[in-house]
Symmetry: C2
Subunit: 434 residues, 2 copies
């Protein structure tokens, strides 16, 4: 009989509810503030860009929020995702640690992002919205929203940072295959884009510029709303299917994790795996060590400060209480495009402030060293983002070896790297720096 | 309660044996012949390039061949693969047909190819081989063998058709990430490659040239064997895990298929899904319609003839009784690189000759129309190869609608198209021809 390596669940095990971490916080989160009045934002403030049902969810105190059947039916295309035991990595590291990973790369877009994109498209459809508009850097979120809009019959417009549009064309092609309109940003489609192009017709663009274009497009158009792929409470909420499934699967494996690890950019995949475990920690089940891993070059928690800041460069969003490097911080062009964000989800920031989670940062070359170690032992090629988590996992596993201690480690492998292979090329050619 | 859309199995449901179709053929297959003597090849002939344990398997009359535990442990990384009901495609086609698909794209290489690559690497490792050498066109097979060699600690050398090496660099990067040596073919590493380059230093290469280089490298080197990714009996055998799982999963779904469909190039993914169903057909369970779908531009069964022919252009392989367009046929440069082969697996050829399976062909633009229809209704982006199967599925579903008939269709979605997005670009830009 083979060793148990794969912990699979059936369609009936897809969670029926999302878990709302806000319901169990020992101390409430500071509210987002209106940038003009500095007063807590109201439902009315938010409905300029989001439909009311999503804003209600963003502010909901309810612990368990039912997942609509239509959303679960689409989740069934890739969920429940597998939990795997990384025995070959354990062997390569010669560690007594047991390493488990939750693998979200089986979704059609190759990452965890569709967990929220599908939910957001559903609620916008319910609210009578006809078109969603968003921005994307390397394209993980844009492609996921393109997919979700297609499945619910919504139009989708994506402002994609121009340098990615040109240099990493595959995710653009993916969005177009799913029928989205993709504009390189800065574009001629918005006043803001035109202004940027007037100053520099060769502008490579930035996420900040793309957000501004997407929001301008949204507020100027009829039946159109904006969608965000991370940071906000409702996005973190939708991702909790990851953590809930992982609890069932670790029970199947017959082990309790000691350490739970995820990478953080805006924070949604991390919140997704961590929240249900934080709930158990708060309930006294076990004092799990829960670690968020950020890039050294864009380390909002370990190098930034906790204060009210804007979510975007153009200062159009509400002020949020979060760890931030400053809304005008331009992150270096690391290959983990999904982690290039100046701030941190207010929820994840709050958990960190309360001491419920830890944070570390990892430099780019160590991240790719970890990625290649994982690919060459386990087989799956991880995306650059979760490779930050892998680097931290390896550290924990090596510590366990040195201490001669069995330790159970769980991490979220939130996406595969098949659309990021050019960054592996750069690493293998010795061209990557930190 | 949601509709049942996903039929999942656990690690314990990974088949324990491969199913050997040869054991149940109503009439034996004509043997491969030595190209010089025209006598049936012997074990000694074959062991020049394959290890003895694989040659034994190639010729085995045993019905059920045990899958080694080490191979099943690696299968557990992606197997059992899911069976899904394509309700959104059914709705898009307004058909009473029920459409099911077996999804092999969840493997680390994104296709069914690792099912055989892992088995071949295992047997070579057992035989004391240190290095495997192979050829690859677009790179599906090469990347799968690179992965498998890495997992068993073998070196891997891949001769990759130069035009793919240059134009489609992602699968090359994947092979290198897994540690393989990848040479653009024709190369300076073999006498044959040098000869081709002397005649044309800009040669784009071909699969025929790459095979010749790989075989030359193999026979000239110590502790080195050759591996093939399709066509041969043992490769078809390894792929039968697909069909066996699909039988269990259709039982879970509570339906018997009327029609079973797969694409064919060399024939291995088709043989993999079809063989276990052919066994049931021969046992009188049901008269399944089993359809192999080939590209119109490279249609060995529907346009070629059944005769002894070489497997490669350079006439170095044994003569095999198969449907062929001639070993010197140069297939047009269609985007389904995996189907660009002049011949057909002798096993699949034999099943066709015996009338146990049907064959149709599909032109490239219809294939991509089907691919986009599938991607936009179901969400998953199919590779160009299985999109041939999808085009045939759509035909069957439309016929069912016209006849007002419920029909149950099962097909093999043998890989995703995330490394083939440039061909989607070409199609969406109206640049594809038949």
């Amino acid at each position: 009989m083979s060793q148990a390596l794969r912990f699979a669940l059936g369609q009936k095990d897809i969670p029926t509810h999302w878990y709302n971490m806000l319901a169990d916080l020992p101390e409430p989160m500071p509210p987002p503030l209106h940038p003009g009045t500095k007063q807590p934002v109201t439902l009315q403030d938010m409905t300029a860009i989001f439909p009311e049902n999503i804003v209600m969810q963003e502010m909901s105190p309810e612990r368990n929020i039912e997942i609509p059947e239509e959303v679960r039916d689409i989740y069934a295309l890739w969920r429940p995702t597998p939990l795997l035991r990384a025995v070959r990595l354990e062997k390569a590291l010669n560690t007594p640690a047991h390493i488990y990973y939750k693998y979200e790369g089986v979704s059609p877009a190759g990452s965890h992002k569709p967990n929220s994109a599908v939910a957001q498209a559903y609620y916008n459809k319910q609210a009578g919205v006809k078109r969603l508009v968003t921005e994307t850097g390397a394209g993980q979120w844009g492609s996921s929203l393109a997919l979700a809009c297609r499945l619910f019959g919504l139009e989708c417009t994506v402002y994609m940072v121009r340098i990615s549009f040109t240099q990493k064309p595959y995710r653009k092609s993916l969005m177009q295959t799913w029928g989205a309109n993709v504009f390189p940003s800065p574009s001629e489609h918005t006043e803001f884009g035109k202004r940027v192009l007037a100053q520099d017709s060769e502008s490579p663009g930035s996420l900040g510029i793309a957000i501004s274009e997407a929001i301008e497009d949204c507020v100027k158009s009829k039946n159109t709303k904006y969608a965000l792929g991370s940071v906000l409470n409702h996005v973190c909420l939708h991702q909790t299917v990851i953590g809930q499934e992982s609890i069932k699967q670790m029970e199947q494996a017959g082990e309790e994790p000691d350490v739970i690890i995820g990478c953080v950019g805006g924070g949604s995949n991390f919140a997704g795996i961590a929240s249900p475990w934080v709930q158990r920690k708060l309930a006294g089940k076990k004092n799990y060590k829960i670690v968020a891993v950020e890039p050294t070059s864009c380390a909002s928690m370990t190098k930034g400060e906790l204060r009210y800041d804007f979510g975007d460069t153009a200062m159009t969003t509400p002020l949020m209480m979060m760890y931030t490097l400053g809304h005008d911080f331009i992150p270096p062009k690391i290959h983990a495009g999904g982690l290039r964000y100046h701030g941190m989800s207010p929820l994840v920031s709050h958990l960190y402030k309360l001491g419920l989670i830890d944070a570390v940062n990892m430099p780019q070359t160590r991240v790719f060293e970890a990625a290649v170690t994982f690919a060459r032992s386990e087989g799956l090629v991880p995306a650059p983002e979760p490779s930050h988590a892998i680097a931290a996992v390896i550290d924990e596993a090596v510590k366990a070896r040195e201490a001669g201690q069995k330790k159970v480690i769980l991490f979220n492998l939130c996406g595969h790297g098949l659309l990021d292979l050019s960054s592996y090329d750069a690493y293998l050619a010795g061209k990557l720096t930190d």
